[in-house]
């Protein structure tokens, strides 16, 4: 780090997998958003973007237990003690602030709900979620309704997320976007985010698991174990 001698001190806060997750999630959510309501064949792309988001979320959950320091849920779960300490100005962490952590869990929760309900959704035209056949049609209709309403909540959360970034930029003179790109931030203290050199190994395992889970879910496999696929080509009737 001798190149950064002018800086007070530069430490890494967000590991590369976390940053990849974040920006791919932006891409996936935007993609799902623009393809959701246009109709026609784009609804199939909505399903594919949904699968990408689901895969990223599965990865994030795994990484929340196996990633580096600030990626681990345990390091930023917003416990009452942490929130009180933060509000009193005594919090000295480097990762998500306790209030920021509330937003992180809210965003992840809303996205998980959307990805999960999408599996059972239908659009009464030609879109069928991969697990549609596990529930009755009226149930799928209701779930599809929740899917749409949950997006309204996600929109609010995303706007709050962006507003918080703008707030820090304008009133605290801090750029929160750059660390999410480079992983680094200037700091007057902090610890190494990883004490192990097995990060790459854990990253590859996490990718393999989340990829496999998503592929299985998206192909509707667990559903097909319980019932015959409804979209199987019907045998041609003789008449």
């Amino acid at each position: 780090m001798s190149l950064n001698e002018k800086e007070p001190e530069v430490i890494q806060v967000w590991d590369l997998p976390l940053r990849l997750f974040h920006w791919l999630l932006v891409f996936g959510v935007l993609g799902a958003y623009v393809t959701a309501d246009y109709g026609g064949r784009l609804i199939d792309w909505h399903g594919r973007f949904g699968a990408l988001v689901l895969g990223l979320l599965v990865f994030r959950v795994i990484w929340g237990f196996t990633g580096t320091l600030h990626a681990r849920f345990a390091s930023f779960v917003p416990t009452p003690a942490r929130i009180v300490s933060y509000l009193n100005g005594d919090w000295r962490g480097q990762g998500h602030t306790p209030i920021g952590a509330v937003a992180v869990f809210a965003l992840l929760g809303a996205l998980l709900f959307l990805a999960f309900t999408g599996l059972f959704a239908n659009d009464d035209i030609a879109f069928q979620g991969p697990w549609l056949h596990l529930v009755a049609k009226p149930v799928s209709d209701s779930i599809s309704g929740w899917h749409g309403k949950a997006f309204g909540i996600l929109k609010v959360l995303i706007l709050l997320h962006l507003a918080a970034i703008g707030f820090y930029r304008l009133f605290r003179k801090r750029n929160l976007v750059k660390p999410m790109l480079t992983g680094n931030k200037s700091s007057s203290g902090g610890s190494l985010i990883s004490d192990s050199d097995a990060v790459l190994q854990r990253f590859l395992i996490a990718i393999a698991i989340s990829g496999a889970v998503t592929w299985i879910v998206y192909s509707g496999v667990p559903g097909h174990l319980f019932s015959a696929p409804v979209d199987a080509p019907a045998p041609a009737a003789a008449w």
């Binding site: 109709g39 064949r41 784009l42 659009d123 009464d124 035209i125 209701s142 309704g145 080509p233 041609a236």
Partner: protein
């Protein structure tokens, strides 16, 4: 004059009833029509999109022709006054404002019929990509009516 007008109205009402039957019947028939179109659309999607290896030109053409035939059968006469409130096989999802926006409804329905006819033409060629493309356009036509006149599930 007034009496003549009332007679005309009564005659028109009877005529509508004669064509399409009571409210419940109109709703039942149109719900059946959409369910049947949905069944055929499902076969097309399955064979051109999800499992193209199962593509069977005759089956897809039969399905596309069935959709076109229903689209061209005069579904509009199943949307008589009061049919936003009634119960057919299940409560109707028709928005009441359908009756205030008749011109728009007619345009949307006409566009749907045209797309359905083009789907039948595409199916005739047996070209999977062309069918897929046109199937998407039919879906869009369905959606434009759903977005305008169909109550979303809670």
């Amino acid at each position: 004059m007034k009496i003549k007008f009332i007679f005309a109205l009564a005659a028109a009402a009877t005529a509508t009833a004669a064509i399409a039957g009571p409210v419940e019947d109109q709703i039942k028939v149109r719900q059946s029509a959409y369910a049947f179109m949905g069944w055929n659309a499902g076969k097309i999607k399955s064979q051109v999109d999800d499992h193209p290896e199962t593509f069977n030109k005759e089956q897809v053409l039969a399905a596309a022709n069935a959709i076109a035939a229903i689209a061209n059968s005069g579904l509009g006469s199943l949307y008589g006054p009061g049919t936003d409130k009634g119960v057919g096989w299940k409560p109707s999802h028709l928005k009441p404002e359908f009756f205030d926006r008749q011109e728009e409804a007619r345009e949307i329905a006409t566009a749907f019929n045209q797309e359905a006819n083009k789907l039948a033409e595409a199916a005739e060629t047996g070209d999977i990509d062309a069918i897929k493309e046109q199937f998407g356009k039919v879906g869009k036509a369905c959606k434009s009516c759903h977005d305008n006149f169909r109550i979303r599930d809670k």
